[in-house]
Structure formats: C-alpha cells, structure tokens
C-alpha cells in the first residue's frame, strides 16, 4: 500500500469519526439525562411525578407534582401555534405566490433576521413591552401570563414555520398551478385548493418544526409567563400564570444541591422535554423524507385499504377525538369534581355529554362538516364559552355561521380572493412589523446607554453603572471557542456526508444524530454541559465548559450548511480532477472545498451568531455575574452579554438603562454576524457561474 493510499484511509477515518460525533453527543446527552433523572422516579414515584398537581420542591415535606409544568409547556406551545400557524402560513403563501421577486428577497432577509434575534432579547422586549401592554389593555394585575408567553413564542417560531412552509409551497410543480388557472380558477382558488394541499406534508413539517422550536425555548418564555407552577383555572384562562419545563430548569438548576431529589426531579423534567422533542423531530424527519418522494413516485395502489381497515381507522380517529375532548373537560373540572357531591356531578356530566352530542350532530349532519372539524368547532365554542359566557358565545356562533354562508353562497370568487389576499398581505406586514418593533425598541432605548466607556469599562454597582467590557470579551471568547469546536467537527462531518458517505445504515445513524442534536432544546445542552463538563469531568464553571457546550450546539448548523454547499458543486469539477489522477481527498481538498468555501463560511458565521446569542446553555456552565479582572484561562468563569442581560433584568432593580445598552450591544453583535453571512451568501450566489 502506498503512502498516498494510507493517508487517504486515515483521512476517511477522521471524517467518519467527525460524522459520528453528533450521534455520540446525542448518546451522551441521553445517558447523562437518564443517569441524573431516572433516580427521581424511584425517589418521588412515577404517579406522583406525572399526575401530582403541586410542585413545591423546597417545602417540608416537599412535593414534586410535575403535571402543571408539563401541561404548562404544552399549553404555552399550543397557544403559540394557534397564533403562529395562521400568520406563518399566510406569510409563506404571500412570499411564495404573491410577492414580486424583488420584494421576495427582502422579505426572506427580514425573516432570517427575525430568526437571529437572541431569545434573551425577545424576553427582555416581552417583559418590558408586551406584558405591560397586556396588563393595561386587559386590565390585569400582572401581564406576565400564558398569553404573553404564547405571543413571544409565536414570534420566535414564525421564522421556522415561514421558511419551511415557503420552501414546500414553492416546490409544488408549476404545472399544477397552470392546470388550475387554465380551468379558469382564480389565483386564490388555485392556492387554496391545489397548491396548499399539494404542499401539505411540507406544511405539516413546518408546523412540527415550529412546535419543536417553541417547546424548547427557555429564556424568552421564562421572562414573560409569570412562572407559577399551577394549572390555569379554568384551563382556558390565558391570563393565568404558568410555568413551562424549560423555565423550571433554568430557574431552579442554579439553586439545587447536586444529587438531591430536587436535582434528580429537574433532570426527570428534562427527560420529559427531550422525549417530547425527540418525538416531534422524528415525525418531522419522516415527513421530510416522504416529501422528497411525493412528486416523483406514483402513490401506492389504493385497493389495499379495505372496508374493515377504513372502519378501524375511523374508529381510532374517533377515539382520539373523544380522548382529547374528555382531557379538556377533565382539566377544567378536576378541582370542581372533587368538591361536589356525586349526584349533581353525574347530572352535570350527563348534561355536558348531551349538549356535546347535540352540538356535534348539528355540525356533522346539518352543516355536513367532517368529524375533525366538528370536534374542533366543539372545543372552540367551549373555549369561547369559558371566556365570554353563554349569550355572547351564541352570538359569536351566529356571526360565524353568517360569515360562512356569506362566503359560500353570496360573495363572488373575485371578491373572496380580494379578502384573502388582504389577509395574506396583512400577515406579512405583521411579521415585518414585529421585527421592526423589536429592533427599533432596543435600538432607541439602548442608544443613550451606549458610549465608549460602556464598551470599555467593567460593570460597577451591580451592573447599574459602568460598562460591559468583560461581558463582550467573554462572549467573543465563548462564541469563538464554540466555533473552533463545532466548526471543525461540523465541516469534517459535512464533508463526510457530502463526499464520502453512501446511503445505508451508517449514514442513517449519522443523520439521525444530527437531526436530534439540531432539535435538542438549548436548556438541555445547558443541563448536559453542567452534568458532564462541570460536575463529571470536574471542570467547574468555566470558559472551556461553555465553549464545548456551545460548540456541540452549533455542530448541526455547520454540518448542514457545509453539506449543502458541497453538494451544490457540480460533479464535473470532481470528475475533471479525478480524471487527472488526483485522489479523492486531493480532489475534495483542492477543488471541491475552495469552490464551496463561501457557503461553508456562511454556515460558520451563522453558527457564530447562534453561539453569541444563546443564554440557556451557558447559564450554569460558564458564566458569572461579575468579573473584576479579565482572565484568558479556559478554567476560569467568564462574563457574557446574554447572561449579564438576564441577571440585570431579573436580579438588579433600577438597572434598566444598562440593560437596554447590553441588549443593544448583544443585538448588534448577532445582527452583524447574520448580516455578514447574508451578504456573503447573496454575493456568492450572484457570482456563481455554474
């Protein structure tokens, strides 16, 4: 074997190891969650943990009922989706189908910027603006509530939903659109009845990824939901304070002693979160794979589904709906049930079921809508009833039926199109407005605090005075180190996936690892970093632990962009090089990588931006509140902009001016990174000649 062949094999081995790194990290994350979390189930008890409704870890005796927290996570995510899905879909349709191609570019840029704003900045904005607005306009005691959390999460998951849905809608073959237009359908009829249904699986993927984004979000949601671990009363009370899993972890992990039942309970919560996210990501992955096939292959022969199968399917569907409805009823009436006497209780239950069946029959048979929609409407009207009472709900119902009839029988297709397009345009305005408001608010309020001293001095008086210099340095060190770790691994993994891997089991494992690492909530990275680097490897809270944790977090981003950039290089380049007798690695290194460099660098900068803005992963792993002297030792803790901002907002009264300043510096830093990445990418696309 020649030297060349040997080094080829050596390089391939290194690439494989890097490719596997994501899967290995996922394995370790799961391992450490299980090691630290499973003891909780024996200490607390399975049932008490999942069904207990009181979370009082510091009381004597303590109780660890996680039901309100798990339900809180689900509720706040559900609320976010109710807002984000319609707006996001409408915006995606607008960008894909209505926007002129010049405006399209700017809109896509705006949405990427929205995705780049750090979650702590959203939280800061939410706390100071959104919750105040809610408090005043709804006359509440406190504006921190479920609704505030859902609104913030909706804004944060919009970019994911919009960009994935937009891709799916744009991917629908233009022939479908032409065929429909040629029949004389209006543009809106074509969109609603042909294009959107054809893009359905992609749209569902978008929604699921949006859910994944919302459910794992920590800092923003923690700052605006009020964080009381209670079930809302009634369950539809959107002004109730709630507390999601992520917020619980971020709030309490800093205060527990290692190895205590409380510590284990927090990791158990993290397991629950991780499992939810795992399920969501798996479903999304399956759907994405399916979508790739949908326009290429003929669907399977439909004859396989016999009558019995169909009936079974309907039965299962029906059962699921019943479960949903009864869960809803139970959650609302749980406290009420335990106090009333059994007789009136059963009467009420029978009454409710009777009314439910009646309304269901009304929807199903008179209005001829499907089971799904009748159950949906049933729940909807029930929610309205808890908010507005009987009379108003009936009025709203009549109003809705009227609108429905108007659309169905009176208005012309052209007029409906005009209404629909107005709504689509409106939703894109809402999205751009959100971006503008958040950025403008931080810039206007932060600008006065910004000065040379602010940028170059250490903080004093608990951060009320002085500057943020150590935090800037700390953030740069953290993000730079993360880039070194995640970037190097990610580029090698991307090269492996694009150039060396073949479809097969190994490839599947690597991709599953990447997908799951990509979907892992940032707070789980924080927990892992704490349990593994800080405690297990005895690093202590330090710079290095933070760099490694952030590096693992940005690994999937870098890998994906690298792989995409390399795959975009035409095969003729490789063939040209290979035909001259170059080895595979020589070809990759000398021909493919230079050609793909702008794309790879874009990915690296995006990763850098993400590492800069993240708070949750470094909160317990790398940062301290105050640092007198800047040390460059990797085993010392550092200050960082996001965590500094968090401490100022949550722990230091009267520090608002400096908090604004810190938020502005952080925002500018992240936006500069994103800006560079975007400029680089657009130049690269323009000068690309192949």
């Amino acid at each position: 074997m020649t030297l060349e062949r040997k080094s080829e094999r050596g390089i391939k081995t290194i690439l494989i190891i890097c490719g596997f790194s994501a899967a290995i990290f996922v394995f370790f994350i799961i391992l450490f969650l299980i090691i630290n979390g499973v003891p909780a189930f024996t200490e607390i008890g399975f049932g008490d943990f999942f069904f207990g409704t009181a979370w009082h870890p510091t009381w004597t005796p303590p109780s660890w009922g996680a039901a309100p927290i798990i339900v809180g996570t689900l509720l706040v995510t559900l609320g976010a989706m109710v807002i984000a899905v319609p707006v996001g879909l409408a915006a995606a349709i607008f960008i894909s189908q209505l926007a002129p191609s010049r405006i399209k570019r700017y809109l896509k840029t705006a949405i990427e910027l929205l995705a780049g704003i750090p979650s702590i900045v959203f939280g800061f904005f939410g706390l100071l603006v959104l919750t105040q607005w809610l408090r005043i306009s709804f006359n509440l005691l406190s504006g921190t509530c479920w609704l505030a959390g859902s609104i913030i999460l909706a804004i944060m998951s919009l970019p994911t939903i919009i960009s994935v849905a937009e891709d799916a809608i744009t991917a629908v073959p233009i022939t479908y659109k032409e065929a429909s237009l040629a029949i004389g359908a209006t543009k809106w009829q074509t969109i609603r009845r042909i294009i959107v249904p054809a893009a359905r699986s992609g749209i569902i993927t978008a929604i699921i990824l949006g859910i994944g984004r919302a459910i794992g979000e920590t800092m923003a949601v923690m700052m605006v939901t009020g964080n009381q671990a209670i079930l809302p009363q009634p369950i539809t009370n959107i002004f109730s304070s709630i507390r999601p899993i992520t917020a619980t972890l971020a709030l309490e992990l800093g205060e527990v002693s290692w190895g205590s039942p409380h510590y284990h309970a927090l990791f158990a919560l993290a397991i629950v979160l991780f499992v939810i996210v795992l399920i969501i990501n798996s479903v999304a992955t399956i759907l994405i794979r399916k979508r790739v096939r949908v326009y290429k292959e003929k669907p399977k022969d439909g004859k396989g589904s016999s009558e019995i199968l169909l009936k079974a399917k309907n039965f299962i569907k029906f059962t699921i709906y019943i479960i949903i409805v009864s869960a809803f009823l139970f959650l609302n009436f749980a406290p009420f049930l335990s106090t009333s006497d059994p007789l009136s209780l059963s009467l009420i239950l029978i009454l409710i079921i009777g009314i439910a069946i009646g309304i269901y029959a009304l929807f199903k048979f008179i209005l001829k809508v499907s089971l799904f929609y009748s159950v949906l409407m049933l729940i909807l009207f029930w929610i309205l009833w808890t908010w507005f009472g009987t009379l108003n709900t009936l009025l709203i119902g009549c109003f809705c039926v009227g609108i429905y009839l108007l659309f169905k029988f009176v208005l012309s297709a052209k007029f409906i199109q005009r209404i629909a397009f107005t709504f689509l345009t409106l939703s894109i305005f809402v999205v751009v407005f959100m971006l503008g408001v958040v950025i403008a608010y931080i810039v206007f309020n932060g600008a006065p605090a910004l000065s040379w001293q602010f940028l170059t001095q250490s903080p004093s008086d608990l951060g009320r005075a002085g500057g943020v210099f150590p935090a800037i340095i700390g953030t740069i060190l953290l993000a730079g180190g993360a880039l070194l770790v995640g970037g190097l691994l990610g580029i090698f993994a991307g090269v492996y996936l694009a150039e060396y891997s073949h479809e097969g089991k190994i490839n599947k494992i690597i991709r599953a690892g990447m997908d799951n690492l990509n979907g892992t909530p940032s707070i789980v990275f924080g927990l892992f970093g704490f349990a593994f680097f800080v405690i297990y490897l005895k690093f202590g809270v330090c710079l290095l632990a933070g760099q490694l944790t952030l590096g693992i977090m940005i690994l999937p981003t870098v890998t994906r962009t690298t792989e995409e950039a390399i795959k975009a290089i035409p095969n003729s380049f490789r063939e040209g090089s290979l035909a001259l007798g170059a080895t595979k690695w020589q070809t990759t290194y000398k021909v493919v990588l230079p050609a793909a460099a702008p794309g790879i660098i874009t990915g690296l900068i995006l990763g850098l931006g993400r590492a800069t803005g993240e708070t949750a992963p470094i909160l317990f792993v790398a940062t301290v509140f105050s640092q007198r002297f800047i040390t460059l030792s990797p085993f010392d803790p550092v200050m960082a902009l996001p965590t500094h901002l968090y401490t100022l907002i949550s722990g230091v009264p009267n520090s608002t001016v400096n908090a604004y300043g810190t938020a502005l510096v952080l925002l500018l830093l992240v936006l500069i990174f994103y800006g560079i990445a975007m400029v680089l990418r657009s130049r690269y696309q323009r000068f690309k000649k192949w």
């Binding site: 429909s180 326009y295 297709a413």
Partner: protein, 256 residues
C-alpha cells in the same frame, strides 16, 4: 376532412408581439381561427408556437417579465381588456404538453373545475364527471375507480383525463400544446382520434411538433419560424402547394 371556411371567426390576433425578459418571442402575428375547425400550429422548436397558443388564454401572464402588445380578439372583443381573466380561461380551455392531473382522485380532478365555478351539488357534479369522461373516451376505463388517485393512470389516460377536466367546464375552444408529445404511439393515436371527435363540438387549436399529425387532424395550418408567422392556409393547401419557400423547406425536412 372538410374545413369549415364559413365558420365564424372566434380567435383573431392583430399585430401581436410577445416579449420575454430577454427575447422577442412573437413578432407581428396576424392569425385567425374559425369555429368548429381544427387549427394546427407547426414549426421548429423555439419558433414561438407555444407562446402563441398560450396568449390565447392568457397563460403567458403566469410567466415573470412577459410583455404583450397588439390585440387578441375573442369573438370580436379584446381578450386582454374586455374580458376578465377567469372568464376567458373558462371559455378557452387548455391541454398541456405533459399530462398534469392534480395529485388527487380522478373524480376530484374533474369536479374541481365546476366546483370553482360555483357548482356544489353532488348529483350535478356526478353527472358532469360522467359526461366529461365519456366525451374524453375514458369513462369505460375508469368508471370503477373514480376515487383512485389520478397519478395511478397511465400517461395516455392521464392526458385524456386532463382533456376531460378541460371539457367539464364546457369551454368553446380547446387549446392543445403538443398534447401527444410525451405519449407513446398507441396513446397518441387514441388522443388524436379523440381530437377528431371533439372537432364536431369545439374549436380546437393545436400546437404540434409532428407535421404528419397536423396534416392528419387539422383543417387549417400555420407555420411559424423565428417568432414570425410565415404562412397560414388550409391544411391541404399548405401541405400540397406551399407559397413560401421557407414552408416548403421545412415540410420537406431540409431544416427544423
């Protein structure tokens, strides 16, 4: 075959010019088609025949950066200004080069057109589906599987389904953009036979790559070259004694 020279003129262009972002696709086209005739447009690839047929039902509007000058008249009225776009496309149906059924059931493919035009009654829709499929000579092949996905049909069946879909909204004119180009010879023959049948009830404009096909099925033929209409005449006349030198060269296979 028998052209119908006394038929009313239904489609007519006057100095029609079509520009794409970077090219001038049609130059000063003056052409007319008469009712209940089959008019064929022939010419080499890129000569503008598809562009011309697409300007008859405003499908060029879908393409970014497309600009049109001159007039197209439908029954004597300006097709681009005196009708609304959906109305035109309802009256003037179109069949595309590649069969493009929607990814839904056979039944839904056909009922889609009537339902977007406001017909929601199930019985009526059933009737329309049956009638359209019969007109497209597809009914016997698919009557037992109307609820199957249309993508399970063969290419030729898909194309006839697309014809049935166009017929379901009772158009007056059918535009066909190389409807047999992507089909095998047997499927092509079936579609051709269908076109000859449809001629009795509809006015057909067909773009074809295949000169023999034009000769077999059309009453009038127009020859386009480099964006210009070189010659337009009754099919027999054009094929037997072309007036223009270019036409003769093309027909005898000396270029194209």
């Amino acid at each position: 075959m028998g052209a119908n020279p006394n038929g009313e003129i239904v489609l007519e262009t006057k100095d029609l010019n079509v520009f794409y972002a970077k090219s001038h696709a049609l130059i000063d086209i003056n052409v007319e088609t008469k009712k209940n005739n089959v008019t064929a447009l022939i010419g080499p690839s890129g000569c503008g025949k598809s562009t011309l047929i697409r300007s008859f039902n405003r499908m060029n509007d879908v393409i970014d950066g497309c600009k049109i000058t001159g007039t197209v008249l439908y029954k004597g009225r300006d097709l681009y200004h005196e009708y609304n776009i959906e109305e035109i496309r309802t009256k003037i149906g179109m069949i595309f080069q590649k069969p493009n059924p929607f990814p839904m059931t056979i039944y839904d493919n056909i009922s889609y057109g009537p339902s977007v035009h406001g017909i929601n009654d199930t019985k009526k829709l059933d009737e329309i589906v049956e009638r359209s499929l019969k007109l497209a000579v597809l009914w016997d092949e698919v009557k037992d599987r109307l609820k199957d996905n249309s993508l399970e049909l063969s290419g030729g069946q898909q194309q006839r389904l697309c014809i049935a879909r166009a017929l379901a909204i009772e158009p007056e004119i059918l535009l066909m953009d190389e409807p047999t180009a992507s089909l095998d010879p047997i499927a092509s023959a079936k579609v051709e036979a269908l076109i000859l049948q449809l001629r009795k009830r509809y006015t057909v404009v067909i773009v074809t790559h295949n000169m023999q096909q034009a000769a077999r099925i059309s009453d009038y033929t127009g020859f386009l070259y480099m964006g210009r209409l070189i010659e337009f005449a009754e099919t027999t006349e054009l094929f037997e004694s072309p007036k223009e030198d270019l036409t003769e060269k093309y027909l005898t296979g000396r270029f194209g």
